[in-house]
């Protein structure tokens, strides 16, 4: 089960063991264009435990969407995975498979049953000219040929019930549902074949806060029942602090910090993580003047040779300008920042 030749650097980010469901190592994704290829994801390394909720947070251009389309092999040209691997460990103890190198045919067998995805825009994820239930029947029977049409339709009604949609809605078309209902239906659809891993790409960004709370409550309940792991991508750190077990913070295509939600909130180690945390005004605590993070993210086509955050960093040092900090373990967490190099006290 364990993989060979782990460097010490990778140990903290990837505590690989029998409870690991996904093991991402050194993943690099580039966009090939007319000129130099643009690297949108660089050396992304992390492991996801079974049943865990891993939050991935970042601003636009941080590489979070690139990362998940690479993870799920949904990327399209010009995006190309140029290095790294994504090992998926099936629950039944079978040999791990590398999703990056899997043939389309084998990949297809894994989709829905082992790995599924919930996208931001439910309208685009559902077929507008098929009844809701029929789309469930499609997915269910594709992966279990022995299932009868009637049984599949019955299962569709049951699955919709799990997310609070009444069974008779199975006969509705997507446009007849509210946005929140459609998003809940795509979540039920993603769970139809009992996957071990669900990747959620900003699943609640297009819905209101009340619906968001309801959807997340349902996801948590369903995860308790079915035990799937979640990779939850969002720009909303405040949400992840409440929802995720661990949080990976991305900046300019790299993970700059990976720690438990509690640690990210209480003791952020990377100045960017700290800045991001302090960019959310409190709802109840006393209001103080907050500054956010001055400046804007670097252009991925012209990254500086040192730390990509150096220009915006309040704690920038000489070496940050020249030397790129790598993701290093610190206790049970990891950070990519020279402030935490040996011999330098933060």
């Amino acid at each position: 089960m364990t993989t060979t030749a782990l460097t010490a650097r990778n140990d903290a980010a990837r505590p690989v063991g029998s409870d690991t469901v996904l093991d991402v190592d050194g993943l690099c994704v580039e966009y090939a264009g007319a000129g130099e290829p643009v690297r949108a994801c660089t050396d992304v390394t992390f492991a996801l435990r079974r049943g865990e909720i891993l939050g991935i947070v970042g601003e636009s251009g941080s590489g979070k969407s690139t990362l998940i389309t690479a993870l799920t092999r949904l990327q399209r040209p010009p995006a190309v995975t140029t290095a790294g691997r994504v090992l998926f460990h099936p629950q039944d103890g079978e040999e791990p498979v590398d999703l990056v190198r899997l043939t389309p045919r084998k990949l297809r067998a894994l989709r829905w049953t082992s790995l599924s995805i919930v996208l931001q825009s439910a309208m685009d994820a559902l077929n507008p000219v098929m009844r809701l239930g029929a789309q469930f029947v499609d997915a269910l029977r594709e992966h279990d040929r022995s299932m009868s049409h009637t049984a599949a339709w019955e299962e569709a009604r049951r699955l919709l019930g799990l997310v609070g949609i009444s069974a008779d809605r199975a006969r509705s078309y997507p446009h007849e549902l509210s946005g929140g209902m459609r998003q809940r239906a795509t979540i039920a659809l993603a769970l139809a074949c009992r996957p071990e891993l669900v990747v959620m790409d900003e699943p609640t960004t297009a819905v209101d806060v009340v619906m968001q709370r309801q959807i997340l409550a349902q996801v948590l309940r369903l995860r308790r029942e079915f035990g799937f792991a979640v990779v939850f991508v969002t720009h909303d750190l405040s949400l992840l602090l409440e929802l995720a077990d661990r949080i990976a913070v991305m900046y300019a295509g790299r993970i700059v910090e990976l720690a438990s939600a509690t640690d990210v909130y209480r003791t952020p180690m990377h100045p960017y993580t700290r800045g991001l945390r302090d960019s959310f005004p409190p709802l109840h605590a006393p209001v103080t003047r907050l500054e956010g993070i001055p400046g804007s993210p670097p252009d991925l086509r012209a990254l500086p040779s040192g730390c990509p955050f150096a220009d915006r960093c309040p704690a920038v040092m000489e070496r940050c300008r020249t030397e790129l900090p790598l993701l290093e373990p610190h206790g049970g967490r990891s950070v990519a920042c020279h402030l935490h190099d040996e011999g330098i006290r933060p």
Partner: protein
């Protein structure tokens, strides 16, 4: 909100806006997007309107910007009713006083023109002919006011060469070009990256402080409303349901919907030791806002409200005027049950009510 010594610069009085839409078979239906809304904007004060999509907040902003004519009710600028006849001159006076900032800084600047042109055009339209030098000075000072310094770095850029935050600053600079007295911000930060949203809120705050602008801040993000504004107005299904000073409204909601909204909002500074299941535990079924074509009778929140009584279903709730300039449209105050709101776990109660009903 109740300060009577300062005269409101912009006022909506019992304003409603109904839209006619054709349904699938060609019959006309009426969408009651905004009903019976009254709002006062005072110089140097910021009012936030919070609510979900479809609550009517954008329609309200557009009514105040006079993109739409109200179906009933009246809008007053500096105490004078704004005429229903659209005379070009009064239009122009109005737009000089009231400027709207849109959500999408990518769509609200002309992409074919440089920053200089985008700003000069607003100056030219509202100030008439000016010498080249005077115009250049004005453009530079506008960019300085929104902290795009040195101005020479930005003047000759095209919108696509700017970041989202810089673009929104240019949009605000353009709004300021006519020296307005009121800024209407329709979700002005929601399309910006998280790390630069605060800069934009701080900019709006300094415009209010230093230049005495009256600002309407429309948002679905209560935490940012609390950060920026003085007063909060909560909208639900086209109506205002509660208003008052921000801290009082958020810490002690007097309408069940406000309570639901506050409970549902993520709070990054909630004690993270609080169990995740406790935060999200009982929010499985919270219902959805009603259709505005055929809104519920009585209180529009009654189909979701765990406190709903018989009269809530039949009769619109009266306005309960409370201490500290607050009010709430809810029957609970009339029957002396408002205390129950304080401790009520709203998401849990709604979930329980709605799941019992479906059972």
């Amino acid at each position: 909100m109740t300060d009577t010594t300062i005269r409101p610069v912009l006022e909506a009085i019992d304003v409603s806006k109904h839209f006619s839409v054709a349904n699938g078979i060609g019959d006309a239906a009426v969408v009651r997007a905004v009903e019976g809304v009254s709002l006062r904007l005072l110089p140097g004060r910021i009012v936030a309107v919070v609510g979900e999509s479809g609550s009517g907040k954008t329609t309200l902003a557009r009514l105040l910007a006079r993109f739409y004519e109200p179906t009933t009710g009246e809008i007053r600028l500096a105490g004078a009713p704004v005429g229903r006849t659209r005379r070009a001159r009064s239009e122009k006076t109005y737009r000089k006083a009231v400027q709207l900032i849109f959500q999408d800084p990518f769509g609200s600047l002309n992409p074919l023109h440089r920053v200089r042109h985008n700003l000069e055009r607003a100056i030219a339209l509202h100030h008439g002919r000016m010498s080249r030098q005077a115009r250049d000075e004005r453009v530079a000072s506008l960019l300085e006011r929104v902290s795009l310094v040195p101005a020479s770095d930005y003047l000759d850029k095209f919108p696509h060469e700017l970041s989202g935050g810089q673009r929104q600053r240019v949009v605000i600079a353009r709004a300021l070009a006519v020296e307005p007295r009121v800024l209407l911000g329709d979700e002005p930060i929601s399309m910006l990256d998280v790390s630069i949203r605060l800069e934009m809120l701080n900019l709006l705050d300094s415009l209010r402080r230093e230049e005495g602008l009256a600002i309407l801040y429309i948002t679905h993000d209560i935490a940012s409303a609390r950060y920026l504004c003085d007063d909060i107005v909560v909208m639900y299904a086209g109506q205002m349901v509660e208003a008052g000073p921000k801290d009082e409204v958020i810490s002690n909601p007097q309408h069940p919907y406000t309570k639901l909204l506050v409970e549902s909002s993520p709070d990054p500074h909630r004690d993270v030791a609080v169990d995740r299941e406790a935060i999200f535990g009982d929010a499985d079924e919270l219902g959805e806002p009603p259709s505005l074509i055929d809104p519920p009778t009585g209180c529009r929140f009654h189909p979701r409200c765990p406190f709903a009584m018989e009269r809530c279903r039949t009769t619109e709730p009266p306005r309960a005027v409370l201490a500290e300039g607050r009010w709430a449209d809810c029957w609970l105050h009339e029957v002396g049950r408002a205390e129950e709101l304080h401790e009520a776990p709203m998401t849990e109660l709604i979930t329980r009510r709605l799941s019992e009903e479906t059972r």
